[in-house]
């Protein structure tokens, strides 16, 4: 089909007519999938479309109710991940599963350390093998580096190295780029292309449609447990893919509505937390979306946390509606009308074991409390309203958010903050790991907020998102704000150059209008 993979050659993986039901739901229905040797095959689909279930079946985590799986032409039963690995199928999980306290080499060979007699580990061999493997993959990492200090991208590379240390024929990557910066993504793609050259097949799950033409050969689209079709990755336009995914057209990926920009509502001056954020000043106006770009670790999330008082600042002040407000804790920030939708919704945004309604009311519980008692009916009414308004798909208000999809979880976080009637919302990676339909809903909600006079700070590692949604673009580099550009001046190339420190800071007038 592409890259000279002749049709008719034995596929590395073939999934034929596979179905799988869970009590009350048909997760997969008659799904077909074929991955050729040396092919990078993307699987896309909304959350709940069945991608995860399909990957679990291929990796042996769960078994299909019916259908057949072939690996390199041989029908197989994959009863467990260990069997999968023995068959040459390896998986890199979205939630990384490394042991932080161990070094790179030990993580790669964890549980399979080369050993001498009496179970004594052959350390020299371990480090030698790890070094060779990393070199072969072109990963510039020291095998003795402890994993704890690595960036997300590097951790992911360790995971890939680990997966490939099994002599894998098929590598499954679940949303590998969702937390990587542009540069890191380029590096990842280079490694994947090398693997491809070496005959390894890659099954690539992604939400980032725009990267598919660059990396994938073919794309299989899933919807509601079915395979909608498999198409060529380079020749199929993104809107067509979206139409296949959602079963309808999406007019615009970034449906930015423009509203008149009003008065300044938030200004920070000289915000500093030593070693993390240095002397950051900017402002946000009513009706304005201010984008914030930068590499992972540039201090963007940290800046957000300082603004809402989640971390202690060493210097700087916050001015809201022209008045200096000392924000010492998130509670004060909420009272002052600032809301932070944190970067990692599972770690910071949600209380996963708690029901939808409790999460929705967490920031505003006082409003429903009299004499310390939570008035359930009022709270239910509020929760019901947000579930309806934000189209949160949950069976009921008592459903635990842990069991919601990523997009719906993000909407719960959003609902929680909308309830506090914020004037300034800081969205930190609001669309990470959620599907296209939910992304658009989040964007539309942003439009709505600015239309009603709120201001938004949008922190995102997805450059198209920042450029597509913002009125102004701030760029951070190594803890400092290096640019404050009007949208028109913010070209992708320029923002990347600024973020990576290749272009010198252009911060002349931090405070517009």
């Amino acid at each position: 089909m592409t890259d000279g993979n002749a049709p008719g050659m034995t596929p590395t993986l073939r999934v034929a007519d596979v179905s799988k039901s869970y009590p009350g739901v048909r997760a997969l229905q008659h799904v077909d999938l074929e991955v050729l040797p040396g092919e990078i095959h993307a699987v896309i689909g909304e959350n709940g479309a069945g991608k995860s279930t399909l990957m679990k079946i291929v990796f042996g985590v769960t078994q299909p109710d019916s259908g057949a799986i072939e690996v390199q032409g041989t029908p197989v039963h994959i009863g467990s991940p260990v069997e999968a690995q023995r068959l040459g199928v390896a998986m890199v999980h979205q939630e990384l599963s490394l042991v932080p306290a161990l070094d790179v080499a030990r993580n790669i060979y964890l549980g399979r350390e080369p050993s001498l007699a009496l179970g004594i580990i052959d350390w020299p061999a371990l480090y030698r093998n790890a070094g060779a493997l990393l070199r072969r993959l072109g990963i510039a990492l020291n095998p003795r580096q402890v994993v704890r200090g690595l960036s997300t991208a590097h951790k992911q590379m360790v995971e890939i190295a680990r997966a490939l240390s099994w002599q894998s024929k098929l590598l499954i990557l679940d949303e590998p780029t969702s937390s990587l910066t542009q540069g890191e993504i380029r590096e990842l793609f280079r490694i994947l292309r090398d693997l491809k050259t070496g005959g390894v097949s890659v099954l690539y799950i992604s939400h980032r449609l725009e990267e598919l033409p660059e990396i994938a050969d073919r794309v299989t689209v899933m919807r509601d447990g079915h395979t909608v079709g498999t198409v060529d990755a380079r020749s199929t336009p993104i809107p067509a893919l979206i139409r296949m995914m959602v079963g309808r057209g999406v007019d615009q990926l970034f449906p930015r509505a423009h509203v008149p920009i009003g008065d300044e509502i938030l200004r920070v001056e000289g915000l500093t937390r030593h070693g993390v954020v240095e002397d950051v000043s900017f402002s946000v106006h009513a009706g304005e979306i201010v984008g914030m770009a930068g590499l992972v670790g540039a201090g963007r999330s940290e800046t957000a946390r300082l603004i809402v008082g989640a971390d202690k600042k060493d210097a700087g002040r916050t001015i809201i509606d022209g008045r200096v407000v000392e924000i010492g804790s998130p509670a004060v920030a909420i009272a002052a009308g600032i809301a932070l939708l944190p970067e990692d919704r599972k770690q910071q945004g949600l209380v996963l074991p708690l029901p939808v309604k409790n999460n929705l009311s967490l920031a505003t519980l006082r409003e429903f409390t009299r004499f310390g008692i939570v008035w359930q009916r009022e709270r239910d009414r509020m929760a019901q309203r947000f579930v309806r308004d934000l189209s949160i798909r949950t069976p009921n208000l008592d459903f635990r958010v842990r069991n919601l999809s990523g997009g719906n979880q993000q909407k719960v976080v959003l609902g929680k903050w909308l309830g506090s009637h914020p004037r300034v919302l800081i969205f930190d990676e609001p669309t990470r790991g959620i599907d296209v339909g939910a992304k658009v809903e989040v964007y539309e909600e942003m439009n709505d907020l600015i239309a009603r006079g709120a201001g938004i700070l949008l922190i995102s590692s997805e450059l198209p998102e920042v450029l597509g949604m913002s009125d102004r673009v701030l760029v951070m580099h190594e803890g400092r704000l290096v640019a404050d550009l009007p949208r028109a001046e913010a070209t992708p190339e320029r923002v990347i150059a600024l973020a990576s420190g290749e272009e010198l800071p252009v911060l002349t007038s931090a405070h517009h209008g």
Partner: protein, 340 residues
């Protein structure tokens, strides 16, 4: 937003996938067993004892089981709050001993330090205050020094036991007014400690289910960082919860003293483990964010039933330890299963 308008609805046709239903649901039977499995365990245990002992099912004996569970229930209620916050309080046994001792000495020699003679209800209040102070101290240390609760309360276990020994000179105190020992009497046929435990259980259940304190207890345990970022004054609530736990331990210590008619410096040693066992058996997750009062009460009843039945059947000491240990492991296994 500032003018209080409601956000508009998203487009109605944005129905995407059936993501909720997909997320690995369990069958109705499994759901039922998970929620009520612990009740079934209690019933099964009762059935075995009823079969083996003619005495077990008499109302007299069942009231005894209730009585014998009371002190543990009271301690375990406080423990439930703490464990739901993903914390633990190992000092409750020592706190019970100190509170009972302070109440006892107050009755026999008057108020601490000043030595003014007071009536027994005042002595009880002084004992309660002691537990409150201990719990408050644990809470403050946990939150201000950012030391894990396990270590802080392990230290407090020893510190408070030491204080009890120092305060009492290592000697038991006895000889209490009848009004006080009536705390361990009966009201009608029902043992007073069971009534106290019942009232406290109802209050605890209400607080956990219907108050802001309860909501925040779950939220802190479920995700402390998310709670903090949502404006929950986490530290203040944690201190309140450890204080509450200390107060419950104090009530337990006072009831215990009334039951035994003696306050002993070594009393209630190891009671923290019974309380943790009851709490965890009742389905409260040691990882926090989950747990119910009903579960804890049933957990405590299981322990009491087990001990009662083993006594009735005159099971040999070594086998009793074996049986109790196995039941605890089974219950924790159930908890693990719930996590999946």
């Amino acid at each position: 937003m500032a003018d209080g308008q409601e956000p508009p609805a998203f487009s109605a046709e944005a129905q995407v996938g059936s993501d909720v239903a997909l997320s690995g649901r369990r069958s109705r039977l499994t759901q039922f067993l998970l929620r009520y499995g612990i009740v079934l365990a209690l019933v099964a245990l009762g059935a075995v004892f009823a079969w083996r002992s003619p005495v077990f099912l008499t109302s007299e004996n069942l009231l005894q089981v209730l009585l014998q569970a009371s002190v543990n229930i009271i301690v375990a209620l406080g423990m439930t709050f703490v464990i739901i916050t993903a914390g633990i309080d190992l000092s409750v046994g020592s706190t019970a001993a100190l509170s009972g001792m302070v109440a006892a000495t107050t009755m026999s020699t008057g108020l601490p330090i000043v030595g003014i003679a007071v009536s027994w209800p005042v002595a009880v209040l002084v004992g309660l205050l002691t537990g409150v102070l201990v719990g408050f101290a644990s809470g403050v240390i946990v939150t201000s020094l950012r030391i894990t609760p396990f270590i802080v309360t392990l230290g407090m276990l020893s510190v408070v036991r030491g204080l009890t020994l120092i305060y009492s000179g290592g000697r038991p105190v006895f000889g209490f007014p009848e009004g006080f020992t009536n705390l361990a009497g009966t009201i009608g046929p029902v043992p007073t400690p069971a009534i106290i435990a019942g009232i406290l259980a109802i209050i605890s259940a209400f607080v956990l289910r219907f108050t802001r304190l309860g909501e925040y207890t779950y939220a802190i345990g479920g995700n402390e960082e998310a709670a903090r970022l949502s404006g929950v004054p986490v530290d203040r609530y944690k201190i309140a919860i450890y204080t509450l736990c200390g107060a419950f331990a104090a009530v337990a210590g006072i009831v215990l003293t009334a039951r035994l008619r003696v306050a002993e410096p070594n009393a209630a040693s190891g009671y923290e483990l019974d309380a943790i066992a009851a709490t965890v058996m009742g389905g409260t997750s040691l990882f926090g964010g989950e747990g119910t009062v009903v579960g804890t009460v049933i957990g405590a009843l299981i322990i009491a039933t087990l001990r009662n039945g083993l006594n009735l059947l005159n099971v040999q000491a070594y086998y009793q330890q074996l049986a109790i240990g196995l039941v605890i492991i089974l219950a924790v296994a159930l908890d693990r299963f719930r996590q999946r």
